[in-house]
Symmetry: D2
Subunit: 389 residues, 4 copies
């Protein structure tokens, strides 16, 4: 369905040919300072060609706060956010009205809903993500203000071109250093949004090559969440990594998710993979390494949470494709116009958004429990792992 | 929380030191023939050392149907399934009462809940999965009877040992052939549950080596779902791959999920990755290839659904580990007893279970929509992609 | 929260001083013919002074379909409906900024959310109901087209003035005759929306008297749902009467709900109250009487569903009231302006709306079950109450 | 469905002819001291003939805690509670296998589910309420310990016999005095559970008369919740009164719910009905009267919450009834055995249970919000209703 979250709930609406797109956020904590500018930043980063900060801002996709805020503060009531669609013209019949695009959502949407939207794949349009990004910005505002949470995603692979640090796996030392310090400003230094400039240049070439061949390419987005509080995640089914996986695989064109040591961690021995504990200056436990990716037993442990998301090559390409019509007749689909040959640079703020929504919802669910328990008399010390004297 | 699903809802309970473990399944379609034997099969496959079918059956972990069935049929009311725990003795204090096990859930559970269960990680115990497997067996019974759905998982990697077919990626031709025909009987031919016997032998050696070194190793489970109906999945947030990812990452010790072409598909061009359509004998569309993994736009397209799940090496090892106590004191945790050095063989039925629960819930949600729409007058043909004459 | 329903889900937003009010409806069956006119009718009935059909239409509160429809049909994707607010001016400080209105929501909203909206009671504003009414119109369109469902509410009491048929209770013969035939056209014959014209005249006088005394009065709305299908309602917690009660008590200013024989039925003997069965022309069972109000065991039985909803006198009155400020100082609140002395006439379409949303959601939940079960082999006849020969 | 609550979630299972009945409670705050005795008390009050405290205890319906507790404390994991059924014998065919009982759930259950349980109405059995009562006891333990919440229900009407204080309506002065002080001990002084002994005697006679006439009678249960915290309830759809109405109408045999001034309050003027504010000793606001029933704008205001629930006469009576078989043949159903002629005395703890579940869930939902907001910087004073100087 179109709602994400249990306590902090975002419900999105809109497809590419309707009047507007947006969302209602229910369960927003009241008293949060919030203006449209707080939300616009990520929406603007989401638009094509906006990653280079020196580029003049595109004034499209302006968000409006319809409800739930007054005098610059959230009221605790539902916040409706809307962005007008520019182009709602009924279009002429084209080939794509009769050919379902291969590997796009046209055919499955028709099978599922029995009605074909003029945009083909209905809500599988990239414009659907605007509602998410708008909603996620509110979550992020809270998390940043209260916990200093920092969520930074970047492009780590485009096609066969990988950042060099990827070689040792996400839990390798080089990669961990990068994750500890990377900022959005660094990510936005180039339009590819890869923080390694030399790699970014090669990725840029690869994307241009795809474009000139009327082809497309996939890629991988890596994301780190720093300063998330301890105790997030709701086992056994809503473990934090399960909710992150759900969130990420709900983004169009995604095919994979791995957290912490991920797939390459399956090749390690337990003695290599285990993250031993040590006390920090305040006496609280931390882990010496972080193969776990900040989550143990489905619950955040206070270390950085990091993960990777795989995006397939976009299905819409300008090459001729031998395929069949809805009616089952073989033929050649000659797609028209220019299409985005690689979505990962634009996916960066969307990955960040879904991370923010997941963490915010987990925070509120854990607050329900911990605030309720905090009113009880303390349990005996031995039930807290303290050795009786 | 402890409930999975929206229309077909499984709520599990139980940890290792309590009286019993099990689940309540709500939303079961009435009129399904069901006995305890239908459920016991997967529970028995889930137990250690049960994969070789010639092994005498272990009579532990017998399931009881407490409610919701009469005369061998489901009533449509909640089905409660229970399995008694054998060992509920309060235990003596041991080192693990004061040392949180590295990379286990002991410390995060204590942080989240503020109370330490005697089993340490509370619901992160492997016994928690019994409730899931029992619930999933009911889903699978329905899916098999009505649609002929076949769900088969197997071990494709243990540590650094991979099945040879893995080299070309999941959407490669060899792998696809295997996925098209593999059966649970074939999988259970060896205790490692890898259908390639030569690889299975090497995996077995690797696991024994880990065991003798008091160490552990990770691995990968691959799963295929054949004959799932078209139209499953609830965009935009509950896409079928998002629900599968959620389901799989909720299994203890998982670190990654990829569907269809997965991470390796990010390296392909769109022209290579796109699955062109063709009409089958009945005139219905099918795809010529299946890089999509049976899901397009978040909705099943009728092709086989396949995916891989990464399991980290088990955290509990018998080696001494330099770490810290709950109270923050450095020390050496010397784990006692023998522990399972590799969980992937036993994870096979759990992966199948979570797949069945996901598909069953998606079936019922789609039935709500399609049965409701089917009562309306048909929409005009051009809204179904049919060219007006 | 701000979402009603599980399968057909309406999420509303908006308060009186924000830009717009409206809703997102998720889970709408695709292929339903739908235009803004279908929705506008009930919105217009909801506005003050609109009940007399000869009155010129007020062109305010025009609804816009933002998404989810194309070519006049629903797509199955979320439908966003919006209505612009006319007056969003920041207002001058007035007494009501410092005095919480007695029996209004001002004080409890501030206690709950910690932020005072300029409208005082935040979402307790009557404008909040616009989103519901818009959403309910879509539900009603479906129910009417597919099942011929007719939902008609009317005013049966204003203050101490009751319709004469009320005397014998809702399940009395006279009342049942009225419920069997009453139409919205009849209800809208007078502005009070009481179908007994003589009573309506007295009610009208009573309301005018209240108005001239700067006072307010309560009243009761009675509602009947005809032609709802058999089998609706989800025991044990979401029985149909429980969902109706939830729906009705969520309407502002409501204090009570009774279904079928209601409170007066508690005074009957079982032998008087029981609704005996008889076969109708088609051989299907019906009940001879309908004290049950169309619901037995929490499930609709195909007879008319009817219920009453109690509305308290509006809290906002123009009389001086001795009360206290937010800060706890005694004083006199002199409310300004003219206020609606009786809400029940305008509540009529809101009661109908909530009934439609409840029935529609129950239909889709039951369709999920019955369509899923229908694919199974039939159960033996004796499990269907058929005597074995 | 069979789950009640969003944050504190009770899922029940079981019907009268299965092995056991019970529930899983998910979302229990960890660290609550809890033993089986805490739960048994209300289960025992629920059994027939247990209301007089001098009666020897019936040792049936003993509850077992299957999970979620250790060392006498809740762990925060799901608590499964079970009660064994005594009688699971398959029964001989009787007339009720072929006649649906008039006004019972037999026929609607068969229509809805398509399978007839041997008990006829499936989950409409009174034994279904055991799971609720067990779950509610845990909620009540918390509410009592932390807030001193007191929930007391009692019988205020049986058939045509009303407590004298009922005459002036629930918000009358006499009734309010009773609600302020009544205790469960007082309620249990007689088996009818009416705290006015003279009325109780007449009710007792009425029930015995019904019994000897093989008939049944309805009644009304009144309930008060004292010391509930301010701020509970989740507008706009999950207002506290809406959730209470949902909870109460989910109890078998209920036909009506009214809160505060209820139906009789509709006859008052606003100036009579409004509850003016005054400061209490601590400077916090209270209301001078309580026609609102402790809830304003859907949110608790700290005053006592009180309401009435209507129960119809039990459908199962021992008189012959002229009705029809499932197959549509007219005939006489001669019910066998002795049946409970009036359910309201036993309904008392069930009403209390559902009140406790509703309040507990509202507490946890509000804690999620308030604990999350509390971490933000305070909003300006004028947004809190404080006049700027």
């Amino acid at each position: 369905m179109s709602t994400f979250g249990k306590a902090f709930r975002v419900t999105t609406y809109g497809e590419s040919h309707c009047k507007s797109v947006g969302c209602i956020i229910d369960g927003v904590p009241p008293g949060l300072a919030l203006t449209e500018n707080d939300i616009q930043v990520q929406l603007t980063r989401r638009r094509p060609g906006q990653s280079n900060l020196t580029t003049p801002r595109n004034e499209k996709d302006r968000v409006a706060i319809e409800s739930g805020c007054e005098f610059g503060y959230t009221l605790g009531t539902p916040i409706c956010l809307t962005v007008q669609n520019q182009d709602q013209r009924p279009h002429d019949y084209t080939e794509t009205d009769f050919y379902p695009r291969p590997s796009h959502a046209d055919w499955t949407y028709l099978q599922k809903y029995g009605v074909k939207a003029s945009s083909g794949g209905g809500r599988s349009s990239a414009r659907e993500t605007i509602g998410r990004v708008a909603g996620g910005a509110v979550a992020e505002k809270y998390l940043s203000e209260v916990y200093g949470v920092e969520i930074v995603a970047f492009v780590s692979s485009v096609g066969t071109i990988d950042m060099p640090t990827s070689a040792e796996g996400m839990s390798g030392e080089q990669f961990q250093k990068l994750l500890a310090t990377i900022t959005r400003e660094q990510v936005d230094q180039n339009t590819v949004r890869c923080p390694d400039q030399e790699t970014a240049d090669r990725m840029q070439e690869e994307i241009l090559a795809c474009s000139s061949e009327k082809n497309s390419t996939g890629g991988i987005v890596t994301c780190v969440i720093r300063n998330a509080p301890v105790g997030l995640g709701e086992p056994c089914f809503d473990k934090l990594e399960a909710m992150l996986a759900h969130a990420m695989l709900s983004i169009p064109a995604t095919k994979g998710f791995e957290v912490g040591s991920g797939f390459s961690g399956t090749r390690l021995k337990g003695s290599e993979h285990n993250d031993a504990f040590e006390a920090d200056a305040s006496g609280s436990l931390r882990t010496k390494t972080n193969h776990s990716g900040g989550i143990q037993g489905g619950i955040s442990n206070g270390e950085s949470i990091y993960f990777r998301v795989a995006f397939k090559p976009p299905a819409t390409i300008s090459q001729d494709q031998q395929t069949a019509t809805y009616a089952g007749q073989d033929g050649i689909l000659a797609a028209r116009g220019r299409h985005d040959p690689c979505v990962v640079p634009r996916a960066v703020p969307i990955v960040e958004t879904m991370a923010a929504l997941t963490i915010m919802d987990a925070v509120m669910q854990q607050n329900a429990r911990s605030a309720t328990s905090a009113k009880l008399k303390p349990v005996p010390a031995e039930l807290k792992g303290i050795k009786p004297v």
